[in-house]
Amino acid sequence: MEPEELLNIIKGRRSVRSFLEKKIPDEHLKLIMEAGIWAPSGSNIQPWQFVLVREPELIRKIKLVSPGLFGNPDALVVACVDRNRYERAGKLGYTLSLMDVSMAAQNMMLMAYSLGIGSCPIASFSKLALKEILGLPDNFEPVLMISLGYPEKWPSPPERRPLSEVVYVDGYGKHYRG
């Protein structure tokens, strides 16, 4: 693969908030989930647990307790961190687990995009309500949802802060001029 191809996938992924009523094939969902578990994790602890939600009625129920979930996605991935796993990483375990699960989420969204599937990371939902509705055990904390579906349209990209503002070279102060 040309490096530009990967950059185009990274740049082209958008947060999609309106979806067509069209089913995602099972094999594509599997690819998306597989991309998730191949993310790196601190000490390879893999603190994640995912709930893949496909049942339309359950998606409707989850939508009721998720103000940040827009549109009607075909599937949802509820990404959880598992206390029983991240505690093994000591005091930093929880913080690291959030990093780990975020990397998994990005992998999934990029895989989705490469399959023509739109996604949106969603943190605005009630953890309490979601735990109740999905019957999650106490050690599972849902931290991020990913909605998945074919986009009604791909939104225009929100601006990014330029490299020259966010990157310093060899210490603070010297802005990257790349």
Partner: protein
């Protein structure tokens, strides 16, 4: 008699949205408070429309919210401009009411 599930009831949907949003707003970015309110307003107009209570001017407000609410994630100043426009639109409805 066919009884509709409570989760399909439009009033119930709005109710849960309000309760869950109230809790979410405790920790979320302050500008998401206005977003949730305006989102609830859009849902309320949709509900009024279903009940035959929304006229063209209310439907116009609903459409404006639907099309521009996500500016909150792109351009906060643009989002606040939208809120001002909505206040003006609703004020005109109030002014012209008899």
């Amino acid at each position: 008699m066919v009884t509709e599930s409570i989760i399909e009831d439009e009033h119930f949907k709005l109710l849960t949205f309000l309760i869950v949003s109230a809790r979410g707003c405790v920790e979320e970015p302050p500008i998401y408070g206005p977003l949730r309110l305006i989102d609830a307003a859009e849902k309320l107009i949709a509900l009024m429309d279903k009940m035959g209570k929304a006229d063209e001017s209310l439907r116009e407000i609903m459409k404006t919210i639907h099309e521009r609410k996500f500016s909150v994630m792109k351009d906060e100043a643009e989002f606040i401009k939208l809120l001002d426009e909505l206040v003006l639109k609703i004020s005109r409805i109030i002014k012209e009411a008899r």
